[in-house]
């Protein structure tokens, strides 16, 4: 090894690089409802990272302009054995990282991770996995929102949706397909068809200050239903495609 390179962190010599599926993306048209004006569109791709137990890639285009984009790669490792004291149920950890420019203050990221692990603590069937740990890594590839450097609201909702998809991809038991909906700086993560809230986040004051909280939640619910529909549709279509491929293989 080069001696002059000592100061650089090279990682262990036997480190494995991220490997991507050679087969290339399953050809699925991006599910989008962009035909409807003033709505977001979502591109979903599962299982991109091979050495994770489950992963998802999400591309969300914002409602106001094409330039508002959030690109998020989520990978789930586990359940894998955890060391240390005995634990009757799995422990969940959520790490967030901005892969390109680091724009979000560290404290805010910690808050975000806390929030997300709270949401998913309520959703993952942790009792099923005693003495183990589930690690979720979120990589924010890109986020832009016109004037702002970043838009935390859309990042949070993308995180929630991304983690859900990655957990499904990893085959980890969850009680319901969680998804988040945004309305006027309010983000609500719902389960059970919008009758229960597992996460509520209001980071900034919005213009609709006078609005009743229940009607805000109702608005978020509409967004949630749309997002969940897209996610479920993707999963169904993916399965169909796989079934189809498998069928062909057996025929040969």
């Amino acid at each position: 090894m080069n001696i002059s390179d000592r100061r650089r962190i090279l990682g262990p010599s036997n480190a494995k690089l991220l490997t991507f599926d050679k087969s290339g993306p399953v050809e699925i048209e991006p599910i989008s409802s962009s035909s409807v004006p003033n709505s977001t569109s979502m591109y979903i791709e599962n299982g991109l990272i091979c050495n994770a137990n489950g992963s998802s890639y999400l591309e969300v285009t914002g409602s106001t302009s094409e330039a508002d984009r959030t690109l998020m790669l989520t990978s789930v490792y586990g359940p894998r054995p955890s060391r240390g004291a005995f634990n009757a149920k799995a422990t969940l950890s959520v790490q967030f990282k901005e892969v390109t420019l680091e724009k979000i203050p560290a404290g805010e990221l910690k808050e975000l991770c806390n929030f997300l692990s709270n949401v998913f603590n309520a959703v993952i069937n942790l009792e099923r996995y005693p003495k183990s740990g589930i690690d979720v890594f979120l990589s924010l590839i890109h986020s832009s929102n016109g004037s702002q450097l970043y838009e935390l609201e859309s990042i949070i909702s993308t995180c929630v949706n991304g983690i859900t998809l990655a957990l499904i991809d990893a085959g980890i038991e969850i009680f319901d397909t969680v998804s988040a909906g945004i309305y006027e700086k309010h983000i609500v993560a719902f389960v059970k068809n919008g009758t229960e809230i597992v996460g509520f986040w209001k980071g900034k004051d919005s213009a609709s200050e006078s609005e009743d909280i229940l009607s805000i939640i109702e608005q978020c619910k509409l967004d949630y239903l749309k997002n969940r529909k897209a996610m479920v549709e993707y999963l169904v279509r993916c399965n169909d495609k796989e079934d189809h491929l498998q069928h062909e293989v057996t025929k040969q």
Partner: protein
């Protein structure tokens, strides 16, 4: 402290019953009694110490510094230290980030303005000596009392110093009271259909979810969010519970602020 399974079942069952039977008999909107000492640190501009009945203790000191506000973006800086928790632990980092953001976004910069060029910058140091339940409410009460007892030096030079290359000068011993509105943060625990304020640690352990609510200038403001208070009992809550939680704070926050002011 880890509770046993039966203790948790007992507590949870009591808290979800109607009306909630809290382990110390409090009503849903009742806080634990607190003691506040103010202005005891001679070297800081404002200070407070708060002691809750469960032994949670928190000291806050506010110090000021004159800065050029055209250069300094943030006029308030909070630092949090919680005994027994590492500085990079989620609790400390989360608390720190929430406090910084709340104070920066809610407190009016104008109230710290000194001259056209200079402002006071407040350094708020929070030290939690011992904490047995979620310390955020107590910290915010302490900050509230500290900032409301803060005395700043009185300016004697002119407040129009745009063209004058001169630093502001202060009176030798006269002090002016700082008058700013300070946000207060509340934690609410949701247990079944009930919402209870100021959850003790045992109550937090069996709560279905927690809500952090900020109260500023007579109304609920951002940030509002769910807080998972434990890992065993955390679950979804109905939209109605969330609304109930906000309603509860709207009802009691004026009384709390009055009690803190009195």
């Amino acid at each position: 402290m880890v509770l046993s399974v039966t203790e948790k079942l007992y507590l949870h069952e009591s808290l979800v019953s109607n009306p909630p039977a809290r382990p110390d008999g409090r009503s849903a909107d009742q806080f634990r009694p607190i003691e506040i000492f103010t202005d005891f640190l001679p070297t800081s501009n404002g200070s407070s110490k708060i002691v809750a009945s469960d032994g949670t203790e928190c000291i806050v000191s506010a110090k000021c510094k004159v800065v050029d506000h055209t250069l300094e973006e943030d006029l308030i800086e909070v630092d949090v230290d919680i005994a027994g928790h590492r500085d990079d632990s989620p609790l400390v980092q989360g608390t720190l980030s929430v406090l910084n953001r709340v104070l920066l976004s809610q407190i009016d910069r104008g109230s710290l303005r000194l001259t056209k060029k200079y402002s006071f910058k407040l350094y708020i140091d929070v030290l939690v000596l011992s904490s047995y339940s979620h310390p955020l409410t107590l910290i915010s009460f302490a900050i509230y009392s500290a900032l409301n007892s803060t005395l700043l030096p009185t300016l004697i030079s002119s407040d129009d110093d745009l063209d004058v290359a001169e630093l502001p000068t202060f009176h030798d011993y006269d002090l002016t009271k700082l008058t700013i509105k300070v946000p207060v943060l509340f934690t609410v625990a949701v247990c079944g259909k009930n919402v209870i304020v100021d959850p003790a640690s045992s109550e937090s352990d069996v709560a279905n979810n927690g809500i952090l609510v900020t109260w500023y200038d007579g109304k609920v403001t951002a940030p509002v969010r769910t807080l998972g208070l434990n890992e065993d009992y955390v679950s979804g809550i109905t939209p109605q519970s969330l609304a109930d939680g906000l309603k509860l704070i709207e009802d009691i926050a004026p009384k709390v602020v009055k009690a803190l002011d009195s």
